[in-house]
């Protein structure tokens, strides 16, 4: 299964809407185990994506993901800016020639995050949502339950990357904020492609 330009745009638009709506949820999660700004950061990115789309309607998938990437890179800052930015930039490069299977697209993004963050699954980061979603898509089992499970799996992890890692054992018992924002991304995807 692939996602085409119109739906992909709806996907991103729904994502940025959720980011704006859930700004304080994300800030609260980040206050518990980080520095309290993940919502503010992503909200800034969300507005930048909207501005970018308003200024120049993306004409193809590569442009859409690239515009998303640039907005994130230039406006989010923090850890999540380069991570989401790299994910979407790599996705943009990957679809330049030809659209990809959704599973491969998300795996490309996941790999970008792993490379930029020098990280992998089990470290209580957004990767713990991206990677399981990518698997689920491969196995045609992508649904709300998968997203919820992936997100909730971060709760009992001990963080080893990102700010939450400084808390060591005490990082347990809290959802990872980046995992939550990624969950919004995939909930938006689910809305668009139908659960």
């Amino acid at each position: 299964m692939k996602i085409e330009l119109a739906d992909a745009k709806k996907w991103i638009e729904s994502f940025v809407k959720k980011l704006e709506d859930e700004k304080s949820t994300l800030n609260e999660l980040d206050t518990a185990i980080g520095d309290g700004d993940h919502g503010t950061n992503m909200d800034r990115g969300a507005k930048a994506v909207t501005d970018s789309f308003d200024k120049k309607e993306p004409g193809n998938l590569a442009d859409l993901y690239k515009a998303t990437a640039f907005a994130m890179i230039q406006k989010v800052g923090g850890a999540s800016g380069p991570l989401y930015g790299t994910a979407f930039l790599d996705m943009s490069k990957a679809v330049k020639e030809d659209n990809l299977e959704l599973a491969d697209l998300i795996q490309t993004g996941t790999d970008g995050i792993k490379r930029r963050g020098e990280s992998d699954t089990g470290m209580k980061t957004m990767i713990d949502v991206w990677q399981p979603i990518s698997e689920a898509l491969k196995n045609d089992k992508f649904n709300q339950q998968v997203i919820d499970d992936a997100l909730n799996s971060t709760k009992d992890m001990v963080a080893t990357k990102g700010r939450a890692s400084y808390l060591e054992e005490k990082s347990k018992g809290h959802l990872d904020p980046g995992a939550q924002s990624s969950a919004y991304l995939f909930e938006s995807l689910l809305e668009v492609i139908g659960g």
């Binding site: 800052g77 080893t160 700010r163």
Partner: protein, 330 residues
């Protein structure tokens, strides 16, 4: 939350604008960014390796307050507690490169490391020589190959002072990076908080402590520490932090430098009392302190608390620490 601000989104640009307006002989703002760069006459004619640092805002006077002759060439301010973006860092690099290359001083946070990395990639595409050193002086966090590692905190100001001085004296990029790394390897910090900082966008303190509690090992972004305990007299606090830090230095002979750093909401009075206790105890231990400094150098918004940094130094470090510089805040 009571703060003297306008809109939360405008905090950083307004702050930078205030800083530049009140110090236009020293610094100017790079258009379209919240980066500041040296603006003195000497800089315009100077041929030295550029030294650029930056990071999230909320740690003032770090980094913009250390831009000037003998310290940083430019500083890039991100949003509050949020790494600046690569495009801003890239602009700062371009503004200071004089053909000798540019050293980036980065505090060890995933965001900072990644954004400076992306900026480095952009600048290298322009054939600018770049080296990066990553400050990780906060020993309250365990290090391991598999984790983010230790945080960069107050020691950063000392790294910027030494590296900035060496850059002014004409040291090459490679040597500067080596010098900076050796300063970092010999610089250890622990902080304590009496009251957490309030991030403006969040609106309440990052954590709560009881009326008589302090937290040991906190970071400069409200990162929780290793223990919450009843507050002790300054002497005992000094003892606790000194003991923890000295465990890291096997060799306690030779020269040392110390920094007592206020977190933003703690008066100088308390910092000096604490410094007095630190120096007394180090003197009792026959540790030779050749340089010491006290003040709000690397803050955490309105956090109440302080940190102690001890550096195992040598003649070169001490020389650059003591040299006069022309900056807003050193």
């Amino acid at each position: 939350m009571k703060k003297i601000i306008n809109n939360v989104e405008d905090i950083v640009p307004e702050m930078i604008s205030g800083l530049v307006k009140t110090n236009s002989d020293l610094v100017r703002q790079i258009e379209g960014t919240t980066a500041v760069v040296r603006n003195d006459e000497k800089f315009k004619n100077n041929q030295q390796v550029g030294v650029v640092s930056g990071g999230g805002s909320g740690h003032e006077p770090l980094h913009a307050g250390y831009v000037g002759d003998g310290m940083l060439s430019a500083a890039v301010a991100g949003e509050v507690f949020t790494s600046p973006t690569p495009d801003q860092i890239y602009e700062a690099i371009k503004a200071v490169d004089q053909g000798q290359g540019v050293l980036l001083i980065v505090k060890n946070y995933s965001g900072d490391v990644m954004n400076f990395d992306m900026a480095k990639e952009m600048a290298e595409a322009d054939d600018i020589k770049i080296k990066t050193i990553v400050v990780d002086d906060d020993i309250s966090v365990k290090n391991s190959e598999f984790t983010q590692g230790k945080r960069g905190v107050a020691g950063t100001a000392l790294v910027e002072k030494i590296v900035g001085g060496a850059a002014r004296s004409g040291m090459s990029l490679d040597d500067l990076a080596k010098l900076g790394q050796s300063v970092i390897d010999n610089t250890k910090t622990i902080g304590i908080a009496l009251h957490a900082a309030t991030v403006p966008a969040v609106g309440h303190p990052g954590f709560e402590l009881e009326k008589d509690q302090i937290e040991y090992g906190i970071g400069i972004h409200n990162e929780r520490g290793y223990a919450v305990e009843k507050i002790q007299p300054s002497k005992k606090l000094a003892h606790e932090l000194i003991e923890k830090i000295l465990e890291e230095f096997k060799d306690q002979t030779g020269q040392f430098a110390i920094l007592v750093n206020g977190m933003g909401g703690t008066p100088l009075m308390e910092q000096y009392i604490f410094a007095n206790d630190v120096l007394k105890e180090l003197d009792d231990k026959k540790i030779d302190v050749e340089f010491s400094k006290v003040g709000n150098l690397v803050t955490s918004l309105d956090m109440q608390g302080l940190s102690l940094t001890i550096m195992k130094a040598n003649d070169e470090f001490i020389k650059y620490l003591k040299e006069p510089v022309t900056t807003i805040a050193w």
